[in-house]
């Protein structure tokens, strides 16, 4: 037992002193290694680059520098716990766990510690009910919205009538909310010669990584998305001037413009805007995690604001409220063009059937509240 006490003491010594710095800390629980690294790298790059841009161009958020604290999870729950515990003491404002497994872990923990979670398009869908899940946000859309988007799109394509047609859900049988695994569909589809345009993946199965390996076989494949694609936005000019050309880009700097890089940018933008909102509400620059939560709950993303940020029509405009932490659940459909090797949105951001989804959210969140002994707060 001597060895372990020695090792423990050494680790303790190393962890002993972590200085408290006056800045806004955004932990990034990234997965640049492991089986899902292909998806984790662009997201982490986008998330980091946006904050680098804010620091370089605007001197931070509301004059306070943002600091991205990256911790490698490899999409692994145990490493996620380690990352959470090691970063929460540094003044973390909001966690984006990225893995549904880690999210389930962190929902009770972060709520107890008073640190908001933002699970954008993954995690526990019923966390949209803000009166039960005070500290968890999943705007702008969740999996159940996604399912509805897909069905709505199918209805659209078929003139509103799908009688006699089958809708099959091809899913990965695991915790990722039984979410569709990224590549599986394309590859199996390519092998079974099923028409690609009849496939609609959820947003985590709609990146370049998912279609490039299938080559021309993936042409016409559709997937959902909650934000726009491509690099044709004014913010990319700023990114080039202030981040890439200065050699400050995260990772290898080769992911700009990919779907998941854009998602990282989008997540960072929402986090930064929430921080800005929180600064406005509380009138201080150096906000705490609790203030950040207030900012997330009062977040309002308008078309005009996205335009100011150099991201016009980058995502849907929406607002968050005390009882609705999920936003309106808007999404769009994107399609892959294998010859041009590019994704493009083929619809506007459109609504999902909230009258179907809302009762499900209410029922599931109330079941959680009963199980965990949470008294829903009045909204």
């Amino acid at each position: 037992m001597r060895l372990n006490t020695l090792a423990a003491a050494t680790v303790a010594g190393l962890l002993g002193a972590t200085p408290v710095l006056a800045d806004l800390v955004f932990p990034s629980l990234s997965y640049r290694t492991g089986p899902y690294a292909a998806g984790g790298i662009p997201f982490a790059d986008g998330y980091a680059d946006y904050f680098t841009l804010l620091n370089e161009r605007d001197g931070g958020i509301g004059g306070v520098a943002a600091r991205v604290l990256e911790c490698e999870t490899a999409y692994n729950t145990e490493k996620g716990v380690e990352c959470y515990e090691s970063t929460k003491g540094e003044g973390a404002l909001v966690y984006q766990p990225l893995s549904t497994g880690i999210t389930y872990q962190l929902i009770p923990k972060a709520s107890a510690d008073g640190i908001p979670l933002h699970t954008m398009g993954y995690g526990r869908t019923s966390a949209a009910n803000g009166s039960v899940f005070e500290w968890v946000f999943n705007y702008p859309a969740n999996y159940w919205n996604g399912a509805s988007h897909a069905i709505n799109h199918i209805l659209d394509e078929n003139g509103g009538d799908v009688a006699g047609k089958r809708v099959a859900l091809v899913y990965h049988n695991s915790a990722y909310g039984k979410e569709p695994i990224r590549t599986l569909e394309e590859l199996s589809a390519a092998n079974i010669r099923f028409p690609m345009e009849n496939f609609i993946g959820v947003w985590w199965s709609g990146s370049e990584n998912d279609v490039l390996p299938a080559g021309a076989g993936a042409d016409g494949y559709k997937s959902l998305n909650m934000h726009n694609v491509g690099a044709d936005f004014p913010i990319y000019d700023d990114l080039k001037t202030h981040v890439v050309d200065k050699g400050l880009a995260a990772g290898a700097g080769d992911q700009l413009g990919t779907v998941l890089y854009n998602r990282g940018l989008y997540a960072a933008m929402l986090a930064a805007e929430a921080a800005r909102t929180a600064q406005g509400i509380h009138g201080v620059g150096e906000i705490t995690a609790a203030m950040m939560r207030d900012g997330m709950e009062a977040l309002e993303i308008t078309e005009a604001r996205m335009g100011e940020l150099g991201m016009p029509n980058f995502g849907p405009s929406f607002s968050v409220s005390c009882d609705n932490h999920g936003g309106p659940g808007l999404g769009a459909v994107q399609q892959w063009d294998a010859s041009a090797e590019s994704w493009s949105l083929i619809t506007d951001f459109y609504a999902s059937d909230m009258e179907v989804i809302q009762p499900l959210i209410t029922a599931d969140s109330e079941a959680y509240a009963a199980e965990a002994g949470i008294e829903p707060r009045g909204c």
């Binding site: 423990a8 962890l15 640049r32 690294a37 490698e72 090691s86 695991s174 915790a175």
Partner: protein, 358 residues
């Protein structure tokens, strides 16, 4: 000079049969216990409990469990992850069915359930040996994970198949759930580890342990001298699965709080446990602790050095972790094929002669 038998006079059989016959060893053992029970709880924080010590303690129990089966009884098992899952899901079902039951009893009952399942999957060991048995236990691993993924009864029909541990407390202190303090979680695991390690140590040097080792060393010879292979093998499976089940229950209730069977108890966990006992030392309780420390603490330590102290990018550090860990495993297995426990044993032999080796 300090570490030697000379001058130790025993006046009772009990003293003669002590686990630590050398005074220096005994005092070292008491010292470790004093630090573990009295010093660490006063200095522990959330990070240290959740990310370092609790997983280490839990993996130690699992490693001791597997060591009983593989190291002492010679039955290779690749089903450890599956048996941990049995412990975790048993704990979940018991906790949700009987909310008032003490968490300690829940954990022990989960171990009991796992022991029964372990005996069931141990039955083939009476007919098949070695690699073939490893494959049979591999089947247990996959079957159990499949079962907990597919049958909604085990996860109370939750939408995602995740199970979450409800809050439970002991003596007024929360042990499970998000409000549990670092001290409570650590001490709860430590008490169980201490009791289980003590039990394992005494089982393995008693009649039962000797019958296991006889089977391991040569099963036909053991049978001829009167060891019943049915009893020996199945008792090894039962005791080993009990340990692994307790480890799995703690892994779910105290450590993670929410698990999904495929990710938390996949085949990787079976390999991890096997690596622990191979690196630590087969057939050694100390080896189980050393192996668990090597596999659990070293990556965290390396991460903190490379990312925290040296400020390297996280992905490069993560890759280097694999390289360093792999290189160290190869190094140790070349230098000491019998594991860290054998290294420790050699060190003690040298210490006996020191400072006059001739």
């Amino acid at each position: 000079m300090l570490y030697r038998e000379a001058g130790e006079f025993k006046t009772a059989y009990a003293a003669d049969a002590a686990t630590f016959p050398i005074a220096f060893d005994r005092w070292r053992y008491y010292g470790v216990l004093a630090i573990a029970f009295l010093v660490i709880p006063l200095t522990i924080n959330d990070y240290f409990a959740s990310a370092v010590l609790v997983p280490f303690l839990i993996w130690s129990i699992v490693a001791i469990g597997l060591n009983i089966l593989t190291g002492y009884c010679g039955q290779v098992s690749l089903g450890t992850g599956g048996f941990m899952a049995v412990g975790a899901y048993a704990a979940y079902k018991i906790m949700t069915a009987a909310p008032d039951l003490n968490i300690l009893i829940v954990v022990l009952l989960s171990g009991g359930v796992t022991a029964a399942v372990g005996v069931l999957f141990g039955l083939p060991s009476l007919r098949i040996k070695g690699f073939y048995l490893a494959v049979a236990t591999l089947a247990a691993q996959f079957f159990l994970v499949w079962l907990f993924n597919r049958v909604p009864w085990f996860y109370n029909n939750s939408a995602t198949g995740q199970i979450s541990a409800p809050e439970r407390s002991m003596f007024g202190f929360e042990i499970t759930g998000p409000m549990a303090s670092a001290e409570a979680k650590y001490l709860f695991c430590l008490v169980i580890v201490f009791a289980m390690a003590w039990l394992a140590r005494n089982l393995t040097r008693g009649r039962l342990g000797r019958s296991w080792m006889a089977i391991r060393d040569m099963d036909i010879a053991a049978e001829i001298i009167g060891v019943d292979p049915l009893r020996a093998k199945l008792s090894a499976f039962a005791v080993s699965s009990f340990f692994v089940g307790v480890g799995g229950a703690l892994f779910f209730t105290v450590y993670l709080g929410a698990v999904e069977v495929g990710e938390a108890f996949g085949i990787n966990k079976s390999f991890l446990a096997l690596f622990m006992i191979i690196i630590g030392g087969l057939g050694s309780i100390f080896g189980s602790f050393a192996g668990a420390a090597f596999i659990v603490l070293l990556p965290v330590f390396l991460k903190n050095v490379m990312v925290g102290a040296l400020g390297w990018p996280t992905d490069i550090a993560a890759h280097f972790e694999f390289v360093i860990l792999g290189a160290l495993i190869i190094f140790f297995l070349i230098v000491e094929p019998h594991g860290l426990a054998a290294l420790w044993r050699t060190a003690k032999e040298k210490l006996r002669l020191w400072p006059f080796p001739h």
